[in-house]
């Protein structure tokens, strides 16, 4: 609350995302408690922390799925806490859910096409034409996510890993400036995990990314900065090496 100088200081820099004093309480339980952090342009930020630390809740707050009790979330100087979910997406934030969230009754092509950022109003969707630009973009994304030969396949017949890739592809086609990934390699086989890491390394270029992940090897590979959450608060923040050496972190998390 009394962090006024810090805030002005922070505002002088061009952060893509500035979270300040963010608090959300569910029936008095503060899942996220007076949280502040800043994400730079093209930064890859990994959020780690024990179960129930509030990691997923932070992503929910940023993308508007959960409404904040107090605090502010600024994305390129636009206040997100008062915006609707679809407006936040249109502003340039993409979110991948923890469990693969795709449309099983539609084909891979149709899944990607729905995420293509055009014709998002009712009238626009009725008039939407599947023109060459759309097809080309879908094809391009499908190749990136290793699904180019599955375009006419119904999504329900994909394997778990392929479904995760499809959802990543659906975010990619939106070309968001800030990409949020909730445990992108969870539940994957070793070979899928390797391929996913490779995929993530190509897609995180030229955008800011927030990743929640438990796989420390993976975190070390990609993170520019790590934020450790514990009971809704920041326990430690900084480069991986610094965080790993932090005794508080070792105490609650890494040590176990």
């Amino acid at each position: 609350m009394n962090a006024q100088p810090v805030i002005t200081d922070a505002m002088n820099k061009d952060f893509v995302l500035a979270v300040e004093g963010l608090t959300v309480s569910f029936d008095g339980f503060k899942a996220v408690n007076d949280l502040s952090f800043y994400v730079d342009e093209n930064e890859i930020r990994v959020i780690i922390g024990p179960n129930g630390a509030g990691k997923t809740t932070v992503l929910d707050l940023i993308c508007g799925r959960t409404k904040a009790t107090a605090g502010s979330i600024k994305f390129k100087d636009r206040e997100l806490t008062r915006m609707k979910e679809h407006e936040i997406v249109r502003a340039g934030i993409g979110r991948k859910f923890q469990n693969p969230s795709i449309y099983e009754d539609l084909t891979v092509f149709e899944n990607l096409e729905i995420s293509y950022p055009k014709g998002r109003s009712v009238a626009g969707a009725l008039a939407f034409r599947r023109d060459a630009a759309v097809k080309e973009r879908v094809q391009e994304i499908a190749e990136t996510i290793f699904l180019a030969d599955q375009l006419d396949q119904r999504a329900e017949y994909l394997s778990h890993g392929q479904k995760q890739w499809l959802e990543i592809g659906m975010l990619l086609i939106q070309d968001p400036e800030l990409l949020m990934l909730d445990e992108p390699v969870a539940g994957m086989s070793v070979s899928e995990r390797k391929k996913t890491a490779e995929l993530l390394n190509t897609i995180i270029k030229n955008r800011s990314v927030i990743v929640i992940e438990h796989d420390m090897k993976f975190v070390e590979d990609i993170a520019h900065k790590v934020t450790v959450l514990h009971q809704g608060k920041i326990l430690s923040e900084g480069p991986m090496a610094k965080v790993q050496a932090d005794p508080k972190v070792i105490e609650v998390y890494l040590g176990h």
Partner: protein, 390 residues
């Protein structure tokens, strides 16, 4: 990047859809009029008015997953709009000179009303009436949809609220006897611009008008289904949050499809009034609303044409069954619904898709090959997955 991308359909009807529509059109426009006597044909005409409701339910319930148990309200609103126009024409000063206040509908006179209520006034115009038939229910659906979908009321809660609306609407119509004709409804409708709609020849003409409108609405439904909006509806049914977090305002799509279903139902209601010659609260309430859902379920809630056949079949069964065993019909209807839920969840269309369509494959072969360019054939084709029922 010029690799062949399939799924590049440009026209909104697939060859098999077109064949299906032509077969239905031949059945309704040629076969039935030639084989049925006037009396039976009028029954089919009446059944077809419910098919409009079933069509709306396919879009709203089948595709978008929004189960409305109050479609009778919209059917009734459309029907009442038409009935108000016809009633005003039948209540000319000359026809009603024995009344205390000549020139107003008879039931108003019986209820000591001495002047035509303001909201009846515009229904003197046929142009206004036709627009009102489509827009009044759509506006009502907009209000309900806005209030509920913006607050993210969905699933079973939505179904219960629409059911309550059907009950409220019935009570309102019955209670406001002087304005609505009460429990008897609006009866004794005679002419449309001087054309007597009670004669056999008029009823035959109206039958063909009804079929033509139905086919027009079927084409509209196919257009919506094949547009990106149609795929968004299916996507919303599957993973509403994913659609929302892909930048869509989910509630506006739900409101749209609910309004569209309402307007379609209302066209059916208006055609009902014209063909049957009256409109009453018994077509508005909970029971008819649920019956309409059953027609759709039996025909196949995921199939536009299936729902039409379902409506015809269930109503035909109802009529023939009720003629011989009137008290058993409700058990028959209930049994049919249980059978659909337990044995063939995708209705007749689902059965067709699993047992008949594979054998017809060679017939459509030539046409199909044009749609699906060489490349890999998806192994999913024969496995009867739910949405494949179309």
């Amino acid at each position: 990047m010029t690799a062949p991308v399939k799924s590049g359909r440009t026209f909104f009807l697939r060859p098999q859809d077109m064949i299906g529509i032509v077969i239905l059109a031949i059945l309704l426009l040629v076969v039935l009029p030639l084989t049925l006597d006037n009396f039976r044909l009028q029954f089919v005409g009446k059944y077809l008015t419910y098919a409009f409701v079933a069509l709306g339910l396919v879009l709203c319930w089948g595709y978008a997953g929004i189960l409305s148990l109050g479609q009778g309200v919209f059917f009734g609103l459309g029907g009442y709009c038409m009935a108000m126009f016809l009633k005003l024409e039948a209540s000319s000063v000359e026809n009603t000179k024995i009344q205390t206040t000549p020139g107003i509908p008879d039931f108003m006179d019986w209820n000591q009303i001495t002047a035509l209520p303001w909201f009846w006034e515009p229904f003197r115009s046929f142009g206004f009436t036709t627009i009102a038939v489509v827009l009044v229910p759509a506006f009502f659906a907009l209000l309900v949809g806005y209030a509920l979908f913006k607050r993210r009321v969905g699933g079973v809660y939505f179904a219960i609220i629409t059911q309550a609306l059907a009950a409220i609407m019935t009570i309102l119509i019955i209670g406001q006897q002087g304005y609505t004709g009460g429990i008897n409804g609006i009866t004794d409708l005679r002419t449309l611009h001087g054309w007597d709609i009670r004669t056999d020849s008029a009823k035959t003409v109206l039958y063909f008008v009804c079929v033509a409108l139905l086919i027009g609405c079927i084409l509209l439904a196919y257009y919506v289904k094949s547009s990106k909006l149609g795929r968004i509806l299916v996507a919303m049914r599957d993973k509403e949050d994913r659609v929302r977090f892909s930048g869509y305002d989910v509630s506006s799509f739900k409101i749209f499809v609910f309004c569209l279903a309402a307007s379609l139902s209302a066209i059916g209601g208006a055609m009902f009034t014209l063909q049957v010659g009256f409109m009453s609260p018994s077509f508005v309430g909970i029971v008819p609303s649920i019956e309409m859902v059953i027609y759709t379920a039996v025909g196949g809630r995921l199939s536009i044409l299936g729902a039409i056949y379902g409506t015809l079949l269930v109503n035909w069964a109802k009529t023939s069954f009720s003629e011989s065993f009137p008290e058993l019909w409700l058990f028959g209807l209930g049994g049919m619904f249980i059978a659909v839920v337990l044995i063939f969840p995708n209705g007749i269309a689902g059965l067709y898709q699993v047992y008949v369509a594979p054998h017809l494959g060679p017939l459509f072969g030539g046409a199909k090959r044009k749609v699906t360019p060489p490349a890999a054939t998806p192994p999913a084709a024969g496995s009867a997955a739910p949405a494949a029922a179309e």
